[in-house]
Structures are given as C-alpha cells and as structure tokens.
Amino acid sequence: MKGRVLIVDDDTALAEMLGIVLRGEGYEPTLCADGDQALPMFREHKPDLVLLDLMLPGTDGIDVCRAIRAESGVPIVMLTAKTDTIDVVVGLESGADDYVVKPFKPKELVARIRARLRRSEEPAPELLEIGDLVIDVAGHSVRRDGGPIPLTPLEFDLLVALARKPWQVFTREVLLEQVWGYRHAADTRLVNVHVQRLRSKVERDPERPEVVVTVRGVGYKAGPA
C-alpha cells in the first residue's frame, strides 16, 4: 500500500471513479460524500492524504479544510471546478497544499498525490539553520530556542528547500518544481500563499520577515543564519 487517501466529494460517481483510479495506482481510498462526516472519518481513518472537493453540501469544503488543518498537517489536495482567482486563493489560505482543477486527467491527479506523499523515503539525518531556527530534517522538526514550531509537511519542505541553499534566491517556478513537484509552469499563487502561511508560523514579526526573505522581482531566499 502506497498510502491511505480520504476522498471527500459529494458527487458519488466522481468519488467512485477517483476510488477506482487510486486503487489502480496502489492507494487505499476511503470515500466520504458529506462535509459533516469528513472530520469524523478523517479521525477514524487517519489518511496520509485528503482529496477534498471545495463545493460540498453540509459543511463547506473550505470549512472542512480548516478543521482538518487545525488538528493535522496531513497533505490536502483540493478539487475545484472554479479557476477564478478568489476561490483558489481562499482554498489555499484555508490550508490546502495544492489543488487540481476539474476536469483533470487521472495522471495529473496521481502526479499531484504522489508529489505530496513522496516524503515516505527516509531522509538522511541533517541539521540546518535558517535565521534563528534549527531544522532537524530527519526528525521533521523545527525549533527556535529549543521550543518546537509545528509545521505542515509542505511548509516544512518549503523551509528545508530554502535552508539547504541559503546563498540561492529561489524563483517561484523553481520552488513549484522542488516543493510541489510541478514540471510545467503552474500557479505561482501556491508559492505566495504558502510562504505567507509559513511566515505566520516561523517569523517573529510576519510583517518584517527575517527567515524567509522576499527578493523583489525574483523570488525568495533564506534569511542569514
């Protein structure tokens, strides 16, 4: 088994089809057709990844996303039928790591899921410093003055990517490729939104970032250690 995936989608045909495809790819899918049931099922099944439709009856997809994110850093991939700027941004800001726009090709979806679950390989023990933070890559923890800072796996990956090459300025496109696994040009808002989320957790003053520094017109880099 490559991993457990919770599919939260009210369209049963689509959910079932998603199940078939994911099972064919070696994942273990669980279906949930109701937003209200999403959180109990999430607690019960402890999935490695959540596939979440933004348009849900009962609890809204955005709310489900926030609720799950509130208690877990599990990767969340949104399914959205809207490409309008605001919906995607709202979804990302409520905690989703990535999104797929309907209609998507099955391969595309599987690639996104795989990218989010790819961490299963054990990384070599490694200690990184960025700003006044200490990152234990193998132990998957970030500490400031000895106190741990909880990050989602995606935020952790983002921070590690920056910290490994503190001399390099990362463009949004490079980060999309390294952290999200996109080979082609994708939505750079993913980077913007997640850098904001990361800063809100790791910066002493998110208004004046010292850990993840913006390089105007280019991208981001790690702050001096």
Binding site: D11, L14, M17, I20, G24, A81, P103, K105, P106, K107
Partner: protein, 551 residues
C-alpha cells in the same frame, strides 16, 4: 501685421458664424431686432414726412397771405404817393420795405426785397432791402417767372446766413408798379429755421423712441426665446447625459404647457429606454451567467467520464478490436470536449468582463521563439517549414505573457493547419510605440469577405471541409479578446491562393493608444506586391480587420 489682422478678423468671423449657427436664441433675437428696426425706420420716416409737410403747409399759407397783404399795401402806398414831390420814392421805398418786414402776423426776421424790373435801366431808380445782409441769390430761380407771369409766385429755397449756416426759406414774389418809374418786383423771404428746429426735435424724439423700442423688443425676444430655449437646452443636456450612460437623468416638468409636455414625454422616453436597456443588460447577464454555470456544472461529470475513459483506455489492449477502437475514439473526443469547454469558459469570462490582465515587461520575441519551438513537431508532421524572424535585441512590451503565448500558439497552429505544407513564417518587429507579430502562411488563403469573419465564434472557412486538427472554433475569438484586453489589435489579411497573414500589434506600455504597427498588414511577399503591374488593375484592396467593420 496685415496678415495677423486678417487672421484675427477671419477667426472672429468664424467664431460669430459658429455662435450664430449654434444659438437659436441669438438667431431669434437678431431677426426680431432687425425686422422691428426696419419697421420702426419705415414708420418714423412716414411720420417725419407727415410732420414736415404739415408744418410747411401751414407756414406756406401764412407766408402767402402775408405777402399778398404786403403787396396790396405797397401798391396802395405807391399809387397814393405824391409824385409831384421829386425823389419821393427814394425815401418811400426803404421805409415801406422796412415797414413790411417788421409788420405782418408771422414772427421771425423775414426779409423783404424790392427789386427793379428788367425794363428799368436807370441806376438811380430806388431799391429796397429790409436788411443789407440779406442773401438774395435765393430769388434767382423765381425772378424770371415772376417777371414773365406777372403774378404772385412762391418757391422753397435756401439762403446763406451771416453765420454761414444755410437756412431753408419760402420765397414769395409778385410784381408791383411804381407809378412814373415802372415795373418792380416785391419779394418776401420767410426763413424756415423755426420749422427746421421743430422737425429736428421731432426727429430726435422719434429716433430715441425707436432706439428704446428696438432695445425693448430685443429684450422681450430674448426673454421669450429663453423661455422656450432653456427647456430645449436642458433636454439636449439631459439627452447627452442619457447617451453617456447616466440612465437615471430626467427633465424637470413644470406646469402644463407644451414645454412641460415635451419634458414629460422626454422623461417617458428615457424611462422606457432605461427599462429596455436594463432588461437587455439583465438578459445578457443571465445568459453569460448561464454559459458560465453550464461550463462549471459540466466539469464534474466530465472529470468522471474522463477518468472512466482513461481506465478503459489503459486497459484497451485486452479488448475486442472494435471496443479497443471505441476506447481510443472516446479518449480523443474527450480531449476535444475538454478543450472546447475550456475555451467556452475562457470566452464566458471575457463576456462577463472578468478577465484580468497581469501585465509585466516581457520579451515578445522570446515568447514567439518558445511557441515556435513547441510547434515544431506539429509543423514537421504537416511538412511545413516553420521560420522565426525576430530582432536580435528582442521586443519587450508590457503584456500578460500567458495570454500572448496563447494567442501566438493559436495563430501558429492555425497557420500550420491551413498552410498546406508550405512554409510558415513568424515575424516579430518593434518600434518605439508598439511590438507586432505577424504569422504568415501560404495556404489557400482567405476571401476578402472572410477576412473579417475569421474572428467570429465557431466560424469556419469552408463548412464542407472536414476539421482535421480539431480546433474548437473559439481560438481566434479568444485571441481577439486577448489582444483587446492588452489594448492591441489582431488583424487578418488574406488572398485566395496567396495565403494569409495574421498580425498581432501590442502597445509597448499598457494604457497607451496604438496608432500604427511596425509590420504592414499585407505581407511583403504577397503576389500583388511582387507584381506591382497588377496593382493598377486591382479593383480594391482586399484587406480587412474587425476594426474596419466597426467592432
């Protein structure tokens, strides 16, 4: 200097002409004043003539009467004079003349002159003048007649006064006999200066009155026209505002007169227009919303079908040949369905005005190069040579690179698709204001009437011709919207048998107006340009763009 004065005069003239043509009020007031001035002048003239004639007639009759009386008195005095006394007339004549001049009913300093008749040659014969300075040239016209006719005659004349002023006079003359000496002539010269003064006074009064009347009439005309013109002007202003889109503007309705009716019906018209426009707007909003909703709603089932088809497609090797082929067709048509839906959504976003431009300085030449490189495999398959000509220094403009790439991809795919295996050229050029990309194919070309049609949604050059690469039919419409979003142009040139050229022109800076393109719309290698001899016979230029038909 002269020229400047002339230009000034000409400018002033033109300005007044413009004002005259623009202002109904000015025209009405001017016309009214002109005509009332004419009428008053005519009337005044008649009035003055009447007064003058009356005054003169009175004076003439009085003068004639006085002259007759004087004549009789003189004749009697001469007849009864004691002729035995020598030189009696030498004293009698001046006395009599003086007496005549003083007497009589009419006041004023009339002159009386007693002249010798033509038969008296003696220089010693007595003469009489009431005043020595009297100008007797006035008598010249009358004298021959008095001598011939031997009757009392009169005439108007003018005399020179000592002051130099010429005064109109009535001259009355009659023959008189001095016994023993011969025929004399007695003339009365009545000055008309009193009458002249009176007439001048009347004239002045009339002129003043006329002036006052004209000003009054002008003022009244101005006020009256203002009452009419003001609401008309208001209506014009409101109509302008309405046409500018301020649909809630209305005229003020006051009273129940014709103008109030005009205002009321104007307002009714505006209301009905507003209602219809709102209805159309609502309708179009609903329709756009519908297209957008449908596109959204279609996405979820399409995703499901897509995945199902994918699963079938993956497993097709184990199927029956016909089922296998079906899975392939299903897969291919789903691709087409998907791109159609994507285009439909894109265009509905444009229709809803929701398309946002994320412009930043981009090298169009490098975008073109990327597109050409990506299209190379397709060109190879179609046997077309794909060439890119671009300036080495690049062509940077503020554009949304995603949209421009889409436009160029579309144009290049179209060119390859319709290029019939002949070379396709992508030409990039720039000047200070604009960057242009022209995509030229040498396929079967376009008819003049089709040049403007290619940008229509779902338009096909030849309905009978099968679609091969399966475009959605919305590509050029979207490309056109993309170009417009940038403030740019997308134009087509085509000639049957000579291929087409599509030219995209973009302003270098967002918000600036395009006034030309660095690339001519008609390619330099068109057959018409290569054979200029043919140009003379060409009936019209087959060039068109949507702007030309009033897009």
């Amino acid at each position: 200097m002269v020229r400047r004065a002339r230009t000034l005069v000409r400018r002033g003239w033109r300005r007044s002409i413009a004002l005259w043509r623009r202002s109904l009020q000015l025209r009405v007031v001017t016309t009214t004043v002109t005509f009332s001035l004419l009428a008053i002048l005519l009337l005044g003239n008649v009035l003055v003539t009447q007064v003058r004639d009356g005054l003169l007639e009175d004076r003439r009759q009085a003068s004639l009467a006085e002259a007759s009386t004087g004549l009789r008195a003189a004749q009697e005095a001469f007849d009864s004079a004691d002729r035995s006394e020598p030189g009696v007339f030498d004293t009698l004549v001046p006395d009599l003349v003086r007496q005549l001049a003083r007497g009589g009913g009419s006041e004023g300093n009339k002159d009386v002159v007693l002249l010798r008749g033509p038969d008296i040659n003696s220089p010693e014969a007595p003469l009489g003048r009431s005043s020595s300075g009297a100008d007797i040239t006035a008598l010249d016209t009358l004298r021959p007649q008095v001598q011939n006719r031997s009757a009392q005659l009169w005439t108007y004349a003018a005399v020179q006064r000592d002051s130099g002023r010429r005064v109109p006079v009535i001259v009355v003359g009659a023959p008189v006999q001095i016994p023993g000496i011969g025929a004399y002539e007695l003339y009365y010269i009545f000055p008309l200066d009193k009458e002249q003064d009176t007439l001048a006074l009347v004239r002045r009064a009339l002129l003043l009155g006329a002036l006052g009347l004209v000003v009054l009439v002008g003022g009244i005309a101005w006020l009256v026209t203002r009452q009419v013109v003001t609401p008309v002007r208001m209506a014009a202003r409101i109509a302008e505002r309405l046409s500018a889109g301020r649909l809630e503007e209305r005229m003020r309705v006051r009273g129940e007169d014709d103008l109030a009716r005009l205002a009321a019906s104007f307002n009714r018209m505006a209301t009905s227009l507003q209602r219809q426009i709102r209805q159309l707007e609502d309708l179009s909003r609903v329709q756009r919303r519908f297209v957008s909703d449908v596109s959204h709603e279609l996405r979820t089932p399409l995703t499901t079908v897509r995945m199902a088809a994918d699963v079938l497609h993956e497993a097709r090797a184990g199927f029956d040949p016909s089922v296998e082929r079906s899975a392939e067709i299903l897969q291919a048509q789903l691709d087409r369905f998907e791109s159609l839906l994507a285009d439909l959504l894109e265009i509905s976003r444009y229709d809803a005005g929701a398309a946002l431009l994320e412009a930043e300085p981009t090298d169009i030449a490098s975008v073109a190069r990327q597109v050409v490189e990506a299209m190379e495999p397709l060109a190879d398959r179609r046997g077309s040579l794909l060439a890119l000509v671009s300036p080495p220094e690049g062509a940077v403009a503020e554009v949304d690179s995603r949209r421009i790439e889409r436009v160029l991809r579309n144009l290049v795919v179209n060119a390859i698709e319709h290029g019939e295996g002949r070379p396709v050229t992508v030409l990039v050029a720039a000047d200070d204001e604009a960057v242009a990309v022209a995509v030229r194919d040498r396929g079967m070309g376009l008819a003049a009437s089709d040049v403007t049609m290619v940008f229509n949604r779902f338009w096909r050059a030849d309905p009978a011709r099968a679609r091969t690469t399966g475009g959605t039919g919305l590509g050029l419409s979207i490309a056109m919207e993309d170009a417009h979003l940038h403030g740019g142009w997308l134009q087509a040139w085509g000639e049957p048998g000579d291929g087409c050229q599509f030219r995209l022109t973009l302003p270098r800076r967002q918000g600036t107006e395009l006034d030309g393109s660095p690339i001519p719309l008609e390619p330099a290698d068109s057959s018409r340009r290569r054979r200029p001899a043919l140009r003379a016979g060409a009936p019209y230029q087959r060039v068109g763009s949507p702007e030309d038909v009033g897009a």
